[in-house]
């Protein structure tokens, strides 16, 4: 049987991959995909904790309800983020983060 540490390390590595995508990639769409990967890594550790921290013999369903909320907030975030990317592309004809330096100090 896998242990809790196995799941937590898999989740941490997935989070690190998402963070790597955010910091290393320069296409704004792929950066957004990295954000999604980080949210999902958090979901994986929540579900692992809900299975390993039993409440009176059953999974802790509070954690699974929290995952449900995270998924719905992520859906709203994706819709708004992609609309912002589309209007940015209309204004600038680029999705490369280094071409978007108006606010740069």
């Amino acid at each position: 049987m896998p242990t809790l540490a196995n799941y937590l390390i898999a989740s941490g590595l997935f989070f690190a991959l998402g963070l790597g995508a955010v910091m290393l990639r320069r296409s704004i769409i792929v950066i957004f995909m990295g954000l999604e990967m980080m949210l999902n890594a958090a979901n994986l550790s929540l579900v692992a904790f809900s299975r390993y921290g039993l409440v009176s013999g059953h999974q802790n369903f509070d954690a699974q309800v929290l995952v449900f909320f995270i998924i719905s907030v992520a859906a709203a975030e994706v819709a708004v983020g992609l609309a912002i990317i589309v209007s940015l592309y209309r204004a600038r004809q680029t999705t490369h983060v280094e071409d978007l330096d108006t606010l740069k100090f």
Binding site: T3, L19, L54, T95
Partner: protein, 167 residues
């Protein structure tokens, strides 16, 4: 059996995750992300969270990633041209990643409670759809309503953002 499933799906999820970071074409990035979310749903099923696994496939791998692909095709994004790497950003990013990974492994390995085997579920099997529904409407009524308002305002925001001229 469960251990084999865990290793198989975790490895596959991380491999597809690496290909999201490495591949240059945004469409192949999105397709690898779909595959890694499906492997993540399989990991949820190995943790006896079938409902969350189903939602993961339906909402993430289905709806959200289709939205991503739709936007990639709408903007007609080509393969990213390789530009000179920003040296400072790359080294800084690698340092932050290394620090995060080392702290995380230290914390996980130092706590003996994390090395426990999977505990047995007690008594007759309960349906997790029913239990999630009960928890959602008994203890999380207000947050549920707030999420509804959030989704509505996000929809209105998208409609306003996608008008051709912003005033």
């Amino acid at each position: 059996m469960l251990l084999a499933a865990f290793w198989f799906f975790a490895t596959l999820m991380l491999l597809f995750g690496v290909s999201v970071v490495v591949l240059r074409n945004p469409v192949s990035c999105a397709m690898s992300l779909v595959m890694s979310f499906i492997c993540l749903a399989a990991l949820f099923v190995t943790l006896d969270a079938t409902f969350i696994g189903v939602i993961q496939v339906l909402v993430y791998a289905g709806a959200i990633m289709v939205l991503f692909l739709f936007i990639i095709m709408l903007l007609d994004l080509r393969e990213e041209k390789s530009r000179r790497l920003n040296f400072g950003a790359t080294v800084g990013g690698a340092l932050v990643l290394a620090a995060f990974l080392s702290i995380m492994t230290q914390v996980i390995l130092s706590n003996p409670a994390f090395a426990n085997q999977t505990p047995k579920l007690a008594g007759p099997k309960v349906s997790d759809v029913k239990m999630i529904g009960m928890t959602l409407f008994h203890s999380f009524g207000l947050p549920f309503e707030v999420v509804g308002v959030l989704l509505l305002s996000a929809t209105v925001g998208v409609v306003v953002l996608s008008r051709r001229t912003l005033r």
